[in-house]
């Protein structure tokens, strides 16, 4: 038994970004990228065995780069991706515990971690995550992401949480008890699907322009909107090597608006399953969070859809980066020691 006092952490393991919040006050976010130098030369230049986050992205030409989480879960069938998730977790734990280099295997036995996964994550996927955490932390609790968000916000009754990430959009109705499968949904319509649509539409309209998925993602994060544009969206791309301004307003709007039908349909379906006397309360307490939830005008579009069933209110959380990990930390801190002892890794 470790004599070090427990460090509680909440981890939001995201397809695009992962964040950690710790009971010692540390909060960190990293891009969910892990890369290994492709050869001895790259290793010599980079002077590291593994690079993570922005560091990995910046040096990607010299790396075997992995984005190991697909739809918020460890990609199946690739040992390298499993290893990458482990490296990512080690990195987050090292940042949170104030040990930049990490303690290596078995170095965080005093850590009690709560990790959020997509609402509809299969048991097999949760087991994979437990395996990835083996030896990294002392105790582990896995919860659904929207549940962690709701817990952190203390929105525990008559609330619908919609967490729009890069890989998945998770829905969870909070009705005062631990959500079951029937209270939750996961859609793969999320940030990545918007990126794909935008990328393809731009490829079609500007076949000679040179741009990458990373650039498209950055433009989306800066300019995304639904409804009428406030101003034309122009970005600079090389066309035959020459920097050129191109208009992507129409393509960006179409890509962003593609999320509205499945999101509204699922939202209304979940609300319609709530006990009738509480439906009005849930309609008026919809929380939209996650990076993709920040698409301009999306909250208003969902409110417009709610008018079909009597109207409602959608609250958009403007700073969603640590919402999930803060919620995880709240769960970790509130869980009694006696219960944590049941959750050894």
């Amino acid at each position: 038994m470790s004599k070090t006092p427990p460090l509680h952490v909440g981890i939001d393991l995201g397809t695009s970004r992962s964040s950690i919040s710790a009971s010692n006050g540390a909060r960190h976010v990293v891009q969910s990228y892990v890369g290994w130098p492709v050869d001895m030369v790259a290793r010599k230049i980079l002077k590291r065995d593994v690079l993570i986050g922005d560091d990995a992205l910046e040096n990607r030409p010299m790396l075997d780069l992995h984005r190991p989480l697909e739809r918020g879960l460890i990609k199946e069938g690739s040992e390298k991706d499993e290893l990458a998730v482990r490296e990512l977790l080690k990195h987050l734990l090292a940042l949170a515990s104030g040990n930049g280099e990490g303690d290596g295997e078995g170095g965080y036995e005093h850590v009690r971690a709560v990790v959020g996964v997509p609402a509809a994550a299969l048991r097999v996927s949760r087991q994979n995550l437990r395996q990835a955490m083996e030896g990294l932390v002392g105790n582990l609790m896995i919860v659904s992401e929207p549940f962690a968000v709701a817990y952190g916000l203390e929105a525990l009754l008559h609330t619908l949480v919609i967490d729009m990430g890069a890989g998945t959009t998770d829905f969870c109705v909070m009705n005062g008890r631990y959500p079951t499968e029937d209270d939750q949904r996961t859609l793969t319509t999320a940030g990545d699907s918007v990126d794909d649509l935008l990328y393809n539409a731009m490829r079609e309209r500007y076949p000679e322009a040179a741009f990458s998925k990373h650039m498209v993602r950055a433009w989306k994060e800066e300019h995304s909107f639904v409804g009428e544009p406030k101003a034309p969206v122009r970005v600079e791309v090389p066309v035959k090597g020459k920097p050129t301004q191109i208009d992507i307003t129409r393509e960006l709007r179409a890509a962003c608006e593609s999320v509205i039908p499945p999101i509204t349909e699922t939202m209304i379906d979940l609300i319609s399953r709530v006990e009738p006397e509480y439906q009005s309360k849930v309609r008026n307490h919809v929380i939209l969070t996650g990076g993709t939830g920040l698409i301009g005008g999306l909250g208003a579009a969902l409110e417009a859809a709610l008018k079909e069933i009597g109207g409602g209110k959608v609250k958009v959380l403007r700073d969603p980066i640590f919402i999930g990990s803060d919620g995880g930390l709240a769960i970790a801190s509130d869980a009694p020691d006696s219960d944590w002892e049941k959750l050894g890794v």
């Binding site: 048991r123 609790m141 631990y178 499968e181 996961t186 049941k342 959750l343």
Partner: protein, 349 residues
């Protein structure tokens, strides 16, 4: 909010319990086979009640059999390919015995309503050779089949009646809402070995064949189901009392198509009745098959498919297979079921 600490405590207990169950290797609450069992029990309750009534009238009803009980192995294997949920349920402690299947011969009702599903449509054209598109061919054959079935007194509902893209989930929903007695999905095959000409028919089950896995993956793409929906569908495998009937329907249709087409195409291969986890077979509540009625990858087959007479021959063969299956249920004349619920119109209308 005075209630908050109490609610938090309850939520934490729920979260801890779910994790303890996970560590113990037990499925989450909502994925427990208990639900599937009760659902199956609910579904079969009217039948069981009917059985009791028939028994009271001293009629012989010894045909309640376990033959059609779901094969846990089928679900286990399907789960290994389609996700963990089925595996979860199959590997759960055997707390409940599998629901006993009921031989439909106990109720000699025949079939009345046929759901015809022309594969693909709209932008989802399916396989293509020259100007021939699978989506057009399946629709043409479906219309011809509908005409035959209607003339013979069957009710027919088509999942699509024009060249439009209908999601697999919507096809399943349409079939279930219409309470079809059987579901027949029409497709045209594409095989790597272009020289092969053959027909094959599928019903629901797992497969270890990499080709069939790939085929199912392609056909199930863009099914319109969310991950949660799909887990529920896989739960439905345990209500597999219809699987035996699906196999019999598949055998009847396969036999009929091969025999019919072999008259004009002596080289045509009988590629047999197979199992595969296609979404339309998983989600539908009735005996369901997917027939690959020809091979568009074969030049001669493609040429034949251009001829209306050949497409009519395929429709005739499908009709004969369905009719033979219906007759095998030994429906005495005039003892058909009461008029069914009204047909629901096709998707979108």
């Amino acid at each position: 909010m005075a209630k908050l600490p109490r609610i938090k405590k309850r939520l934490l207990q729920g979260a801890i319990h779910a994790n303890v169950e996970l560590i113990a290797g037990r499925p989450p609450r909502a994925a427990m086979p208990r639900r599937a069992f009760f659902r199956t029990a609910l579904r079969t309750a009217p039948l069981l009640l009917s059985l009791g009534a028939v028994s009271a009238s001293s009629l012989l009803i010894a045909n309640v059999t376990r033959e059609a009980a779901p094969d846990p192995g089928v679900a286990l294997r399907a789960g290994s390919r389609l996700g963990g949920a089925a595996t979860d349920a199959a590997s759960a402690p055997e707390m409940f015995s599998a629901p006993a299947g009921i031989d439909p011969r106990v109720f000699p009702l025949g079939i009345r309503r046929v759901i015809v599903d022309p594969g693909h449509g709209g932008v989802a054209v399916g396989t293509v050779t020259g100007k021939l598109r699978e989506s057009h061919l399946t629709l043409d054959i479906a219309w011809r089949l509908r005409q035959k079935l209607t003339a013979a007194g069957f009710e027919v509902a088509m999942t699509r009646e024009r060249d439009e893209d209908v999601e697999l989930a919507d096809r399943v929903d349409f079939a279930n809402r219409n309470q079809g007695d059987v579901f027949v999905s029409i497709h045209v095959n594409w095989l790597e070995t272009r020289a092969v000409r053959g027909v094959e028919t599928y019903y629901l089950g797992a497969t270890d064949d990499p080709y069939l896995t790939e085929l199912a993956s392609v056909e199930n793409r863009d099914s319109g189901y969310s991950l949660t929906d799909f887990r529920r569908l896989l739960d439905g495998l345990y209500g597999g009392v219809r699987q035996k009937q699906s196999r019999q329907l598949a055998e009847s249709v396969q036999r009929s198509i091969h025999r019919t087409l072999a008259k004009t195409i002596p080289k045509i291969q009988d590629r047999g009745v197979k199992t595969a986890p296609f979404v339309v077979l998983i989600g539908t509540d009735m005996p369901a098959i997917l027939a690959e009625v020809s091979c568009l990858s074969n030049r001669e087959d493609a040429e034949q498919l251009e001829r209306p007479e050949h497409r009519q021959a395929i429709a005739d063969a499908l009709f004969l297979g369905i009719q033979n299956y219906s007759e095998s249920l030994a429906a005495p004349s005039g003892s058909g079921p009461a008029r069914r619920t009204p047909l629901v119109t096709a998707k979108g209308s």
